[in-house]
């Protein structure tokens, strides 16, 4: 058997394992699917009316909610990667000569898929709540592409965090910044309505260009080139940093 097909087969086995985990852990399901829906209902029906936004609030908030859904979906991954590391499962796989990347790829791919399922649910519920988009096919393709890239990049970062953390608790704690960032971005209110310090932070943090790019695409308009480049760069940056960090930690600790 060639090593490529071994590695592919191992990854498929790992992926199946991680999917079972996602489906069987109620907390994971709640955080990655149900909780974002609750947040959406709360923002649109409870808080949204108070914000002065042009047009329907659900149209404004949806791109941010898509990004927030991804960041909520990550928490479970950090914990479960750390669990594998600290409870000896990864050691078991290593002594069985399971291909090096399979464990990590399994986590990354299953997390990415889980995040995208969460996003699909958000879009579905959003449509039911009155979200309307003028986006054409190519705009949607672009939006899905950026969500995919963000999920993928952030998954690598989260897997690295989970590997590096000393305990499950600290692994879960490590992803809190990712969960907090959407609130300090233009996700729910435009950045220029914020206080000076927060506004500057919001303008330069990774999620703002990503959200603005999504917003531009989904409204059927043209997102600014600056935002598009920044969004793309951040996502690729997450993936590269996460990948390098994860592989180095995996080699060192396991």
């Amino acid at each position: 058997m060639s090593s490529v097909s071994t590695s592919f087969g191992d990854s498929a086995i790992m992926l199946r394992r991680n999917f079972k985990h996602s489906v069987r852990n109620p907390v994971t399901l709640f955080n990655s699917v149900l909780f974002p829906v609750v947040m959406m209902v709360m923002f649109v029906y409870v808080l949204g009316g108070a914000f002065k936004i042009q047009g329907e609030y659900v149209d404004y908030a949806l791109p941010g909610l898509l990004v927030m859904t991804i960041s909520y979906g990550l928490g479970a991954t950090a914990a479960s990667v750390n669990d594998d590391m600290t409870k000896g499962i990864i050691n078991r796989f290593k002594t069985m000569d399971v291909s090096r990347g399979a464990v990590l790829t399994g986590h990354v791919v299953s997390t990415t898929v889980r995040c995208l399922i969460g996003d699909a649910v958000i879009i579905g519920v959003g449509l039911a709540m009155g979200f309307r988009s003028d986006a054409g096919f190519l705009d949607w393709l672009g939006a899905v592409g950026i969500l995919l890239l963000l999920s993928f990049g952030a998954s690598w970062l989260t897997v690295a965090l989970g590997l590096a953390a000393k305990s499950v608790e600290s692994a879960s704690f490590g992803v809190i910044p990712l969960i907090m960032l959407p609130f300090l971005s233009s996700a729910f209110v435009p950045a220029d309505t914020m206080g000076t310090g927060v506004r500057q932070f919001a303008e330069y943090q990774p999620f703002t260009p990503i959200i603005e790019t999504l917003r531009g695409l989904l409204s059927g308009g043209q997102p600014s080139t600056g935002h598009m480049i920044a969004a793309f760069a951040w996502c690729v940056g997450f993936a590269v940093v996460g990948y390098v960090w994860a592989v180095a930690t995996f080699k060192k600790r396991a």
């Binding site: 000896g88 050691n91 002594t95 000569d97 396991a254």
Partner: protein, 314 residues
Amino acid sequence: MKSSAIAVSGLRKAYGDKVVLDGIDFDVASGSVFSLLGPNGAGKTTAVNVLATLLRADAGTVYVGGHDVATATREVRAVIGVTGQFAAVDELLSGRENLRMMADLQRVRDGGRMVAGLLERFDLVESADKLTSTYSGGMRRKLDLAMTLVGRPRIIFLDEPTTGLDPRSRRTMWEIVRELVAEGTTIFLTTQYLDEADQLADRIAVLDQGRLVAQGTPEELKRQVPGGHIRLQFNDVRQLDAAERRLALSTVTRDDEALALQIPSDGSIPALRAVLDVLEGSGIQAEALTMHTPDLDDVFLALTGRTDAEVIAQ
């Protein structure tokens, strides 16, 4: 070299300034049980991790199944199975799914049948389809070992396989280990229990602070350990004095506070009868008698200089 399943020489491993393994040598014959005995923190798990290709040694050579662990990692992994200190089972999978995953990863041809066979053998059929998070500690260890057996390893590393188990589960584990040995598997076992090493091992090496302080068959080791004694408890000082005078022939230790005497003994019935005969012959009333067999404390007392201070304090 050929007949050794494991050959270790000059093995050293340090984490920063902390030396964990300070040059250890041993040989494990094929088809035998070798036990590494030592207290917590002695370096047992580090030794297993090096032998099982999970850690690189700083110095020394380690051959497992005839292959160098440093250069022929793949070949070593193909012949070994490892059951670590914590049952490494997947809690969100059932017992059957855990085994099936192992079979899939090892590309076992008829995985379903092998899994069913292992569930049967380890008495896990009833809970096979329950999530392992509902399993007891003993069941988890059994499943863990079953998962290790999926790859039909020739050499199995068991790192403290019975720590934290109740006596019945311990006995079950021991039986399984004996069956594996009967099938020709080589077992490398670490434990902190002298009786476990005594029960299972053909050879024992005692590890203390990164050094092997003794090596030999269980009998050879126990002969070096004088910790066994008979303890007699008395009601008053008069009886204690009388007994001490009568038993003065051997090196008796007197404990005035507890009104007790300790008489060194090999734990045999004649030795016990001799003491009882003396008591009865002189009409001395002992309140209670307890037998103390050598345990790990005694091994360390005897084999390391570390507890000299405590010996003097007694």
